[in-house]
Symmetry: C2
Subunit: 247 residues, 2 copies
DNA sequence: TGTACATCAGTGAACGCGCGTTCACTGATGTAC
DNA sequence: TGTACATCAGTGAACGCGCGTTCACTGATGTAC
């Protein structure tokens, strides 16, 4: 097989090919829409190199796919932080982080699928997925803890963060898995609704004892009407930054 | 290949093998934990039959896997209805349905994965997944509509049902995909928390205009405290059944 | 300044596998006469 | 009651494919003397 379109790296520059393989593998991953559509032969061919060359830079196929997905994943934390930078308070910061999370997943559906929707691999492959999970949960946990500090959530942050993670993951993964389902036209608005719903639900629920039984639906409806009426005349209190400090 | 342990069906009883293939394929699907681990050779061998026999009853492998998954899926609707049968009101009925949904997914993780977490197949395979999606969404939509009727939700049921679906799907799929993540010990309690969170969030959010901006976190915290205090002295109003009718 | 040599990036050919699927066939079973 | 025949459930062998991975190798490049 002739290595078309690529001149061999000079000594010491072997890592050039590594980067090129990552780039090409990501291209193929996105095109195929699934990691099983990525082939070492395909990657090597598009990189202008023979198949065994891949093994000079990656232990095996799984290591290559993992490296591709993780390289994108690093940006998620920064995106969430950037999105929350201008938030007026920690609760809105959490909402913005949630939005950023879903958007990130929808922007990188194949990566999201590989890292977050795959069954846990037996060997080293599981590593990347576990790292990704810990990573994004940690970001949510921080944001939840800030909400607890400012009083909008009560109690332990961990279970709240897990629940919120499940909620944003649900929106992300369902939209990825069922793109042909009749979703609302205003997809961004829908996602925002999902995120707000989870945040508001967490705020209420963190005030209730576990399993506490609620009033019947008619009465609950009335109490909720009162709450929302109370929320309406809002907005003229001191501004605090995302840490809950007075500005 | 000797067909061990199986005597050929009598004339007119060809469908016996079909049932047996479904049974065996489900076994293998559960054992493998993934549809790519199911093999026509494997299915045929365990059924005591040669591989091409499968084609007498299923168009191809995808049709077999689909049939296996859908055969289980039919039970989901009944499970949700059963779970909600004793609910004191539609809102609690919705909660119980949500719990039943998640439990069903966790009881059949491989089926759930195939039908709800896979990328949409190009051809007929996508059919089963689309049917499953429509089916369980329809159940949730009914329950949400009942909540709207009784006033605990306001506005259009569709977007609410979609958001709630995303929430319960999120808990289900995340628990399936990340079984090794440090989840709370009380998994049932955690799932209940997720479901309640979504339901309560939907109730509050359905009263707010889209994108309506909330008071700052400190004030929001106070309003929520008031709400929950109001919920506490509850419980002595007339009992209604799941349709919101007076009992 | 020239040359032998170690190193490094990559090659080429092959191995071995398991898979879905096809196709011509067989032999038991019921039915029509 | 006996027999030819159509039907039906299933067989056996093979096709063709693409895959991940291995292994002995090559040839350019830099370096030590």
């Amino acid at each position: 097989m002739a290595a078309v379109g690529r001149t061999r790296a000079r000594r010491g520059d072997g890592d050039l090919l590594r980067g090129e393989l990552l780039r090409v593998a990501e291209e193929l991953l996105v095109e195929a829409g699934d990691s099983s559509g990525v082939t070492l032969r395909g990657v090597a061919e598009r990189a202008g190199v023979t198949t065994p060359s891949v093994y000079l830079h990656f232990a095996d196929k799984a290591a290559l796919v993992d490296a591709v997905c993780l390289s994108v994943w690093h940006r998620l934390g920064r995106r969430m932080d950037e999105a929350a930078a201008d938030a007026p308070d920690p609760f809105d910061g959490l909402r913005r982080r949630g939005m950023a999370y879903v958007r990130f997943g929808l922007d990188h559906p194949v990566h999201y699928r590989v890292l977050m929707m795959q069954p846990p691999q037996p060997a080293a492959t599981g590593g990347a997925a576990a790292v990704a999970a810990r990573d994004c949960f940690a970001h949510l946990l921080d944001a939840v803890a800030a909400c607890v500090r400012v009083g909008v959530f009560r109690g332990e942050p961990e279970p709240l963060a897990l629940s919120l993670w499940a909620a944003v993951h649900g929106a992300t993964s369902l939209l990825i898995s069922k793109p042909n389902f009749p979703w609302p036209d205003d997809l961004d608005g829908f996602v925002d609704g999902c995120v707000r719903m989870a945040g508001m639900g967490a705020a209420v629920l963190s005030r209730l004892a576990v399993g506490e039984h609620l009033p019947h639906a008619h009465r609950l409806a009335g109490e909720l009407d009162t709450l929302v009426a109370g929320l309406a005349w809002s907005s003229d209190e001191p501004t605090t930054d995302e840490n809950g400090e007075l500005a």
